[in-house]
Structure formats: structure tokens, C-alpha cells
């Protein structure tokens, strides 16, 4: 085929372009942002804005340094999505410096090093958040709540606050857990907001369900076994509390549903979700909650290309494109 228009192949005619997908992600995260601002006020809003702006700036700066295209008709909206995701996975009393460290690591190490938007094999937001959790765990203990929380407080954005002793989440009622009315990472607490965002992504075709569904089902199925082995006890309440309060639902919808870093095929997607859930359950007994939640995501990110390759090779079905299904 001749290249008469002077543009490079492939010629894909679909409205689901990369900017479209990322914009739907941004829109899907709006309810979680509203939740975080409602409960934590001004500092949550500033934290989200700061992470988004600095992520864009870091990407542009790296793009300039590496000589990649950073201007023109394409605006990399993935930077905004990653910035927002990082902010939503931070505790409310995180300083801007810590947030900046997460953003810079995410942008530089996990995105630009691999070639920028769309080329990263790891979920950059997940990696950035995990990096600060491992590097400065004490800086990420600022879960101010109820009387200690103020919607107008801004001090914690600059000065590191004393770690806040989290109450026993199992004491919280189901209504509180579902509504997000409990201390946690600013955007990961409200189940209804996360589900609303997920439904929006599915309706827009910007999310594959294979991994998220298999991930949640794995946790639900194997949680009793894991807790019986680790703690010798199991309660359904404990499982519900874990599922609602650990951030697992946020991870399932917004990290495992990612089109760039997760396997594209059904079998590999399901496998990745199961592995991720399994690793989460195994590691939650000896790692910190955030690490046990995010490290498995990165692990399956690494695996996704391999999984897709084997899935494609072994499958007898007709080879399909890795592009988004437009039907």
C-alpha cells in the first residue's frame, strides 16, 4: 500500500484514540476526587492539582531533554491521569515534597526511560506511589480523621505531621466503609465512587474487565484460605472490611483496568488478575498494606507482555489486534 498522505501507518479510524481513553479516565476519576475534597478539603484539592501539574511538567521536561515531541497537536493527557492517580493514592497529610518525589520517580524512571506515553511497561502512578512508600514510609502515615481533620488545614502540605494512629477499621460500619467515611488514602475509600468510575470506563470501552474481575474474585475466593493460614481465624466481616478499606477496589478498577500496562487478551488478562490477587493475599501477611497492594500490580505489569505473547501463540483462535475493541 502506498503512503499517499505522507503519514506513517497504521491508519486506525476509531474515536477511541489515546487522548480519548485518557480523558475518559480523567472523567472516571472525578467522583473519587470529589470524595477526597469533600472529606479532606483544600489540601486534597491542592495535592491533586499539584501532582497533575508537576507530572505534566516532568514529562515535558524529560521530553525536551530526550528530544521527543512535546508540542504540537498532541497533548499527553496520560500525565494528568497518572498525576491524579498518584494523588488519590496518597494519605491526606502527605507533604508536597513527598508527592513530588512520587511524581518525579513515576515520570522519569517508569515512563520516560521506557519511551514516554504508551511505551511504559509499568503503571507509572503505581510505581511512583510504591516508590515513596518504600523510600519514606513514615512520611505516609498522615491519616488525620474526625476531630484531627480539618477541611481548611494546609499545614500538612508543607510540614511533616506526626504519624496519625489509625483506628481499627473493622469497627467501622458497612455504611461508613461504602461511603468512604473512614480514614484512608484520599481517593480510594469510597466504593460507590470507584464503582461509578468503573462503570463509566466500561460504558466508554476504555477498560478491560478481565483482570479487575478475576482479581476481585481471586481475593474473595482465596481470602478465607489466606487468613486461616496466617491468622487461624476467618470472618466474612473481615473479608468485606479488607475489600472495601484496603484500596483493592481502586486498584482493580483504575490500575488493573489500564489498557497500556495490562495484558490485552482474555486468557492472559484473567491470569494476570488471578496472579495479582494471589500475590496480594500472600504478601499482605508480611508486607505493609500499601506495598502488598501495589507491588503485585507492578509484577503483573512486567508479566503482561510475556503473558500476551504466550496467550497469542498458544491460542488456536484467530489472532486479534491488541487495539481496543471498537464494537
Amino acid at each position: 500500500m502506498s503512503n499517499s498522505s505522507g503519514k506513517l501507518a497504521p491508519y486506525i479510524h476509531t474515536e477511541k484514540s489515546a487522548p480519548y481513553i485518557y480523558m475518559t479516565y480523567l472523567a472516571a476519576l472525578v467522583p473519587c476526587c470529589v470524595c477526597s475534597i469533600f472529606y479532606y478539603g483544600l489540601r486534597a484539592a491542592l495535592l491533586i492539582l499539584f501532582c497533575m501539574v508537576t507530572f505534566v511538567l516532568a514529562d515535558r521536561f524529560c521530553g525536551r531533554l530526550s528530544g521527543r515531541r512535546v508540542t504540537g497537536d498532541y497533548f499527553d493527557i496520560s500525565s494528568l491521569v497518572s498525576g491524579m492517580l498518584i494523588a488519590l493514592m496518597l494519605p491526606p497529610d502527605t507533604t508536597l515534597l513527598t508527592a513530588l518525589a512520587a511524581v518525579v520517580f513515576a515520570s522519569l524512571i517508569t515512563k520516560q526511560v521506557f519511551g514516554g506515553a504508551g511505551s511504559n511497561i509499568l503503571n507509572s502512578a503505581c510505581a511512583g506511589r510504591l516508590f515513596v512508600e518504600l523510600a519514606w514510609p513514615t512520611n505516609l502515615q498522615g491519616f488525620s480523621y474526625r476531630e484531627a481533620n480539618s477541611r481548611l488545614a494546609l499545614k500538612s502540605l508543607i510540614f511533616q505531621q506526626e504519624p496519625f494512629k489509625l483506628p481499627d477499621i473493622s469497627q467501622f460500619s458497612l455504611a461508613e466503609l461504602v461511603a468512604g467515611n473512614y480514614p484512608g488514602m484520599i481517593g480510594t475509600t469510597c466504593l460507590i465512587c470507584i464503582v461509578a468510575g468503573g462503570i463509566f470506563l466500561i460504558l466508554k470501552g476504555s477498560m478491560r474487565l478481565y483482570s479487575p474481575v478475576s482479581y476481585v474474585l481471586t481475593i474473595v475466593t482465596l481470602y478465607p484460605v489466606a487468613t486461616l493460614i496466617a491468622d487461624k481465624t476467618f470472618t466474612y466481616d473481615g473479608m468485606i472490611v479488607y475489600l472495601l478499606s484496603s484500596g483493592a477496589m481502586f486498584v482493580a478498577v483504575f490500575l488493573l483496568g489500564d489498557l497500556t500496562t495490562m495484558p490485552s487478551r482474555f486468557a492472559s488478562g484473567v491470569f494476570a488478575g488471578v496472579v495479582c490477587g494471589l500475590l496480594t493475599l500472600i504478601t499482605k501477611t508480611f508486607l505493609s498494606p500499601v506495598v502488598s497492594l501495589l507491588a503485585p500490580v507492578l509484577a503483573v505489569n512486567f508479566l503482561s507482555f510475556v503473558l500476551d505473547f504466550f496467550s497469542k501463540t498458544l491460542s488456536r483462535r484467530k489472532i486479534r489486534s491488541r487495539e481496543v475493541d471498537v464494537s
Binding site: 472523567a27 467522583p31 467515611n181 468510575g197
Partner: protein, 451 residues
């Protein structure tokens, strides 16, 4: 890139998602808030019931807490009707051996007496441990005592049990009242209202109403800046003084100096003479069972004797029920004269009423001008030195009454109770006392913030 129509659609979707998110979050918050409140109260009950069994608890948010890093939380316990019953203070103090003792101290809301003590579970290697039996002995020693507390051996005054000795006995329960019979130069008439329960003064209020009915009461005027004095605003000083009287239970212990000031009540720089005199009158009324209603009837009797009309008829009763009238133009009705027609003191309303009615009740009898110069028990004519008017507490020699020592950064003169350490538990008792005194220091600062 996206087309204009796609962008429009996207913005619409974002707005809809924003509205949806806001609706979800706000509805979720209000639905779950009731559960949250119940859960929090349940947690508080689990923690605090052993020290202060209240219907509900509310955590205190105060900037004063910033100065007390040892205090982890302060809570106020309320009854079912919403009346404050006491404080629960969660704190960690250092023992003499620099170990951490974490405990809950519960205090009565009005009298700040210790009503409960319990140890929190330890959570570190440097925990100071007190056994259950030792804690029981300490509870027996400390509970019921008013804070701040000191050991008897640490009191340089050698007063074995000052807190018990200074308390006035023979008070009848009820609400008692006294007001000045003449206004001051700012046209204010001071009054003190006192409540006695179980023979103990449990509530004291000192304020002044203006003879100009268009003016506010003095406390309100001071808070609004219309009545200014040096130091803290008058309302705060009044509050501190009332609180000090609740602690010491005897106006003599306020150590009023000859110029009408006191050094032992923090933040009080104003003239406390009206308060001390009216408080003494209230106490005398409490001993005689002459309550507020009787007092009002007494003033009405005075008015009737002068003008043949009571305060209602004369229009001197204000909306608060106070009789707003100054007897300054008829001083003969309340002044005590000696044989040389020299004024030597003033009569209390109870005594004036007795004089008017000609009662033979000994409690209502007139004082002898020779023996009771100021009608409050202080002998003016005899020349005996009045210790209560020189910054010292009453009773004993002046040399012995000068307090120079301090405990837990509190002057000994401020101590409300003196105790013996629990047997064989000196350090343990001392650490618990330190916790109680820390509570006192916080409450002092917190009250200033609040008023």
C-alpha cells in the same frame, strides 16, 4: 485530537460525573454519619466508662493542647440531658525514673475533683508499670481530691490537710445570692450567686448589672469591649476567681490583699473585694438557710420600708429578676455605726430584714458593732491582723503561711489538696499525682481559651 463535539460531550460527562460524585459522597456521608457517631461513642464508652460513666462524650479541640504534648486527648462527658458532668483526660507522663505512664484521669466538671483513674494498656518498652493492687491503693488516696494535689510532706506550710481544714462547714444546700446595696462609679451593682450541694459550694457566679437598664451586664460588656480593665477581660477574671473559690471553698483562701487584689489566682488583677464580701455574705446566708428568694424578699422589705412599695411596683426588677436599685442615698439602712456615730461596717440584707421585721431569730440578729465590725466575722476594732487580706491564707502564723515551694511547676499556694502517698507506693503515687497536676495545668489554660 478530539473534535469540538467530542470535547463538548466530554465536558458534559465530566460535569455529570461531578454532580453524581458529589451526590454520592454527600448522601453517603449523612447516611453513615449516624453510624460513625454511634461507633465513636461506643469506643468512648468502652474506654471511659471505668473512670466517668457519662451518656456521651465529646472530644475537646483547643489550641491549649499544643502546649501539652503529654496530653493525648481531652473529652467532656455529658449526661443524657446534655449537662457537662466531667472531663476525661488521656495523657502520658514521665515517672521519676523517666518511664512513661499512660493513663486516664476523670475530673468532676464543676469542682475538678478526681472521680476516676485508670491505666491505659502499655505500648512500649519504656512503660512504667503499676500493679492492680498498687493502683487500687492510689485510687483510694487520690479519688475525691481536688486538683492540683501535693503530698503533705511537700507543703512548706506544715499544714497537714489544708484542703479539709479550710472548707467551711454548716452550709445548707440551695441557691444563695447577695448583691451590693449601692452601685459603683460605673453604675454597676455587683452580685454573687452561689449554689451549695451536699454542704459544698458547687457553683459560683460573679457579675454586675447596670443601674442604667440600657447597658449590658458587666461580663457581657467586657467581652464586647465596652468595659475594659487592665489584664485579661473582666469576664475571664470573674470566671477564674469563681473557679478558684470552687477549688478552695472559702473566700478567705483567696488571699485578698489590703488593696483588694490577689496574687494567688492566675490572671486576676482586678479588685476582688466586692466578690469576697458578697461571697462571704452568700456563705453566711447558706449557714442561715437564707436562700435567694428570701434575699429578694429582704430587699423588697427594704424598699417597702423606704417607699411603701416593692420592686415590682417601683419598676426596679429587670428581665433577669435582679432588683436594680442603689441604696446609696439611704446609707443609714445598711450602715453600722459605733457609739460615736462613726460608720464601722455594713449590714447584710438578712440582718437588715431582721431589723425591719424585728425578728428574734438569732440567725437574723443584728451584729454587735463592737464585736463584728464588718459583719462578716472579721474583727476590725480589735486590731487583730487579718491574714486573709495580705496575700496569705487564713489561719496560722504569717511566717508559716508564705509558700515558696512548687510542685510540677505549680506553686504550693495553688495546691487544693494534700495527701499522703499510698503505702509503699511513693513513686507510683507521685507519678499519678503528676498526671493529675498536668490535667490541672491544662484546664487552667483551656479555661482561659474558652472564656
Amino acid at each position: 485530537m478530539m473534535t469540538r463535539s467530542q470535547l463538548k460531550k466530554f465536558i458534559t460527562e465530566v460535569v455529570l460525573l461531578f454532580i453524581l460524585g458529589a451526590a454520592i459522597v454527600i448522601a453517603g456521608y449523612f447516611i453513615s454519619q449516624n453510624n460513625a457517631e454511634k461507633r465513636v461513642q461506643s469506643e468512648y464508652h468502652t474506654r471511659f466508662d471505668s473512670v466517668l460513666d457519662s451518656y456521651s462524650y465529646k472530644k475537646v479541640k483547643s489550641k491549649a493542647l499544643e502546649d501539652f504534648p503529654e496530653i493525648d486527648g481531652v473529652y467532656i462527658g455529658y449526661s443524657a440531658t446534655g449537662i457537662a458532668e466531667g472531663y476525661v483526660i488521656d495523657l502520658t507522663v514521665k515517672s521519676l525514673s523517666e518511664q512513661d505512664l499512660s493513663m486516664l484521669v476523670a475530673l468532676d466538671y464543676e469542682s475538678t475533683r478526681v472521680v476516676g483513674l485508670t491505666l491505659n494498656p502499655g505500648n512500649g518498652e519504656n512503660d512504667y508499670t503499676i500493679s492492680d493492687s498498687e493502683m487500687e491503693l492510689i485510687r483510694e488516696t487520690v479519688i475525691g481530691r481536688q486538683i492540683p494535689i501535693a503530698f503533705e510532706t511537700e507543703d512548706s506550710s506544715e499544714d497537714d490537710d489544708a484542703s479539709d481544714k479550710v472548707a467551711i462547714t454548716g452550709l445548707h444546700d440551695g441557691v444563695y445570692y447577695a448583691q451590693r446595696l449601692f452601685d459603683d462609679r460605673n453604675k454597676y451593682i455587683d452580685y454573687v450567686e452561689m449554689e451549695v450541694s451536699n454542704g459544698v459550694i458547687t457553683k459560683v457566679k460573679w457579675d454586675a448589672f447596670s443601674t442604667d437598664k440600657t447597658n449590658q451586664d458587666r461580663s457581657e460588656a467586657s467581652l464586647r469591649g465596652a468595659y475594659e480593665i487592665s489584664g485579661l477581660d473582666w469576664a475571664t477574671q470573674s470566671y477564674n476567681l469563681c473557679h478558684a473559690l470552687l477549688e478552695c471553698q472559702n473566700p478567705d483562701n483567696l488571699a485578698m490583699k489590703s488593696n483588694g487584689t490577689t496574687d494567688i489566682v492566675d490572671g486576676v488583677t482586678c479588685d476582688i473585694r466586692p466578690f469576697v464580701e458578697l461571697a462571704k455574705e452568700c456563705i453566711n446566708n447558706a449557714k442561715a438557710g437564707y436562700d435567694k428568694d428570701d434575699y429578694m424578699n429582704g430587699i423588697n422589705a427594704m424598699l417597702t420600708s423606704l417607699y411603701d412599695k416593692n420592686s415590682e411596683d417601683l419598676g426596679y426588677t429587670n428581665s433577669d429578676g435582679h432588683i436594680v436599685f442603689s441604696f446609696e442615698k439611704t446609707p443609714e439602712i445598711y450602715t453600722i455605726y459605733n457609739d460615736d456615730e462613726v460608720a464601722v461596717g455594713v449590714l447584710e440584707v438578712r440582718q437588715i430584714e431582721a431589723k425591719i421585721r424585728g425578728a428574734s431569730d438569732p440567725s437574723l440578729s443584728l451584729p454587735d458593732a463592737q464585736d463584728n465590725g464588718d459583719a462578716s466575722g472579721n474583727d476590725i476594732s480589735s486590731g487583730e491582723y487579718d491574714y486573709s487580706e495580705d496575700g496569705l491564707t487564713s489561719g496560722g502564723d504569717a511566717d508559716e503561711q508564705i509558700f515558696t515551694d512548687s510542685l510540677d511547676d505549680l506553686p504550693m499556694s495553688e495546691m487544693a489538696s494534700f495527701i499522703e502517698p499510698a503505702p509503699d507506693c511513693y513513686e507510683q503515687t507521685r507519678t499519678v499525682v503528676k498526671a493529675c497536676n498536668t490535667c490541672y495545668k491544662f484546664l487552667k489554660e483551656y479555661m482561659n481559651w474558652k472564656v
